[in-house]
Symmetry: C2
Subunit: 479 residues, 2 copies
């Protein structure tokens, strides 16, 4: 038989095997393709279009805060990577090394950038001279490489796409403010655009970025109760500046070191979208990020006037600024419905001869699968309402789920029992000692996700060792 009949096949039930459900969605929603390059993936149009929308939205928000885009080299000479001690220790074990260029061995190996702090510092050391040059608020969109052993589409791969912002400031305070500002940009973007609720907080010293003084993070909870780090913002103080000699002349004509930050968000957010909003029919995309927001499915297409009238709806919705598609392929309507659901298109419009007669259309919401019949005269208005409601409801549904799966533990027994039996976040007090973090990770596989900015007083003592507690921490198993 010819291999030409594509079908929307069943996907694994997410409650039966979440990992397999995830893989099924990634493949059947046509987001990625596997490649012959181990650990690397091919972004197909449906997957890449989500990233393009993420880029457009984030880039706009960055630029509103004064950020400018630049582009630094893809390679880092070994000697440059080694200049900041903590940084090289953190990254050297997971980089890919170029040792040969053309037909010759290189005198010095170059790593393919795993992150570009060293390149930006090297650049800033030449670029920044006076206090008039500050702040420098640069960002780049690029791909980075980390030699991961186990990989999963979007969540962990040897190459991924991201943006990395790198700023330089005259004072420590200004750098701290920028670190917080960018974390808030990420948090607002995650909630407003991706409809993903997040916890904002600071990483423990053990979990912070290699070379940072402080790492701020937004953490979210997936459908299976596992945590996902969604974006991080690092305050470097003047550590990198001292290692790389990034100095400026201040108003009093004295040489000073700059204070730096970096912050990044990656294609793993596509994985987050899948795992926060998806269901057993496939992907569910919030209207604000969906590459296709509306699909029109004509019913009884062959009947006179149906396609023409459907085309009018298409034209109206496109004129109203929506990203709309018409599915006039020769598949059966039921198949088209299933495919639109698999691909997570927020709104499906069903439209056939009966609707033409009644001058109405049927609007189906992807998240709730609710259908409403609307008069054609009110089409744009009802679509706008439905999208706005859906964007709101998806965030609130995810927030409710996150709250319902956030537990409190006052004793270590309670902590271990919760981690073992109740997938989700566990809030518990911590003494600040890494030994407790290590013990918890070893005995439960949970890690500290963050010390939330909104602290709560759960008890006076560390959940692990019983000594006086310093911080309330979110713990959880994580991707």
């Amino acid at each position: 038989m010819a291999k030409d009949k594509k079908e929307v096949r069943e996907i694994t039930d997410m409650d039966v095997d979440f990992a397999q459900w995830y893989t099924d969605v990634v493949i059947k929603a046509d987001l990625i393709g596997y490649t012959s390059v181990k650990g690397c993936m091919a972004f197909k149009p449906a997957g890449y279009a989500i990233w393009e929308n993420i880029q457009r939205e984030l880039d706009k928000r960055f630029k509103e805060t004064g950020v400018e885009n630049v582009y630094m080299p893809i390679f880092i000479p070994e000697s440059l990577l080694e200049k900041e001690k903590d940084h090289v220790e953190g990254f050297a074990p997971e980089v890919a090394w170029v040792t040969k260029g053309g037909l010759n061995d290189l005198q010095e190996p170059l790593c393919v950038r795993p992150t570009s702090e060293t390149l930006f510092c090297d650049f800033y050391a030449k670029d920044i001279q006076s206090y008039r040059d500050l702040p420098r608020l640069y960002n780049q969109w690029c791909s980075v490489v980390r030699w991961e052993k186990e990989t999963r589409p979007f969540l962990r791969s040897r190459e991924f796409l991201w943006q990395e912002g790198h700023t330089a400031h005259a004072t420590a305070e200004e750098a701290r403010e920028r670190t917080e500002l960018m974390l808030n940009v990420y948090a607002k973007f995650a909630e407003e655009v991706l409809a993903i609720p997040v916890i904002k907080g600071q990483k423990t010293p053990k979990e912070k970025f290699a070379g940072a003084e402080a790492t701020y993070t937004i953490e979210s909870l997936m459908h299976d109760g596992k945590a996902l780090q969604c974006g991080t913002s690092h305050d470097f103080g003047d550590g990198f500046a001292r290692a790389f000699g990034v100095q400026y002349t201040d108003k009093d004509n004295k040489l000073q070191y700059v204070y730096q930050t970096s912050w990044g968000m990656t294609t793993r957010m596509i994985g987050a979208l899948i795992m926060v909003h998806g269901d057993n029919s496939g992907l569910v995309l919030p209207p604000a990020i969906a590459p296709t927001q509306i699909t029109i499915i004509p019913i009884a297409m062959h009947k006179g006037g149906v396609l023409e009238e459907a085309q009018k709806l298409y034209d109206r919705l496109q004129a109203a600024g929506y990203r709309v598609k018409m599915d006039d392929t020769d598949n059966k309507p039921g198949w088209k419905f299933a495919e639109a659901e698999m691909r997570g298109i927020p709104i499906r419009i069903e439209f056939g001869p009966k609707d033409i007669e009644a001058q109405q259309a049927v609007i189906a919401r992807r998240d709730t699968k609710e259908k409403i019949t609307v008069p054609l005269a009110q089409l744009e208005e009802k679509v706008a309402e439905t999208m706005k409601q859906m964007q709101h409801d998806m965030l609130e549904a995810a927030r409710k789920r996150m709250n319902e799966h956030t537990y409190v533990a006052r004793s270590y027994e309670e902590f271990k029992d919760t981690i073992a039996n109740k997938p989700g976040f566990v809030k518990a007090m911590w003494c600040g000692d890494q030994a407790c973090e290590d013990k918890i990770k070893e005995e439960t596989t949970a890690t500290s996700r963050c010390m939330p900015f909104e602290q709560e007083h759960i008890s006076d003592v560390c959940v692990c060792c019983g000594r006086p507690a310093k911080k309330m921490v979110y713990w959880g198993k994580a991707y």
Copy 2:
């Protein structure tokens, strides 16, 4: 002395030393910075913003022809690169090899993509099954690496940014049409947006892309009379499909090979913008591509009302959709004029107390340096007119220059004399034999730029060997 006073210094005269003039402009217009990574450059905000505008304009034009964006891996396993014989011979000598990942040597070396035909073929072999899957019209925006020995900013570097389109079709004819279509997209973009006139034609077999059946090209002429290849579009026939087994089931249920194309345009177009339009005051950017289209320079800023009134002009022009900046730094107006010229900002508006009194502003065009005084009431209208005229005039001025530096040679003596003494294109007949191309290159350093689609009959015989001529060819020294 503090290193805080930035000045617009003199640049080398382009007629004295064009190469040094180019380097001066690249640096003093703040387009790039040198890096510690040999042969790689750092795009600074002013340089990267031009690329962002090129991307936005081209991407829109691609999508209008049905193209979708995807993203393939950065690495190519050695065995994959070797699948198409001509292709590997063309690229293997100039690729960078990753031989170590993390702490281990790789079993198979991976090259950093110099171009991605092999990756797309590998992908298509799995992705394409039926005639219903065709055509596939994919493109990606990425960076590629070629281990060049001699590098120059934008024109030739070890890493550069580009887009590469890769399409698959059911028939040879459809592939040929797509190859031509994309060449026309490039040509229109170059002329309409970059104001760079181009010659459209086909590369000789010697100069075509490694693995292509035919390579189409657009060629332009720089200010110094050297040619620059601006964009290429390749027709692969079914060569790659046969090497990689990219097959589909046709309507009669038979397996067929697909026909493919690829096409690319790169950051070297920024070099073309500099070398086609620049002058001894620096960069000159066409309004359609300039990141900043208008700079407002308030005169006698300290006088009451000047900044406030200038701000009103800024607000009006921004509301009218222009990319506008206000230079209210504490530098002198003369310095600001020179800097705006160095950076190639199309329109400068001078505005001081006398202008406020007369309710007028002075508009200066960057290309002709012409100044006109316009009533404030007509500001938007006059700015729009000026920009439109400037965009038009820049293209026509460049076309005139190209035509004036395009010569005809009927004998080999005349050919050699022209190449040696008159920088520009030389149109001359060619027998079709590579031996003549080789001889011409060896004896004059000129190469065949293209066999233009618009053929002219200059003589009956090859300019080199005197045998019957097959094609009229554009020859020239090239970047």
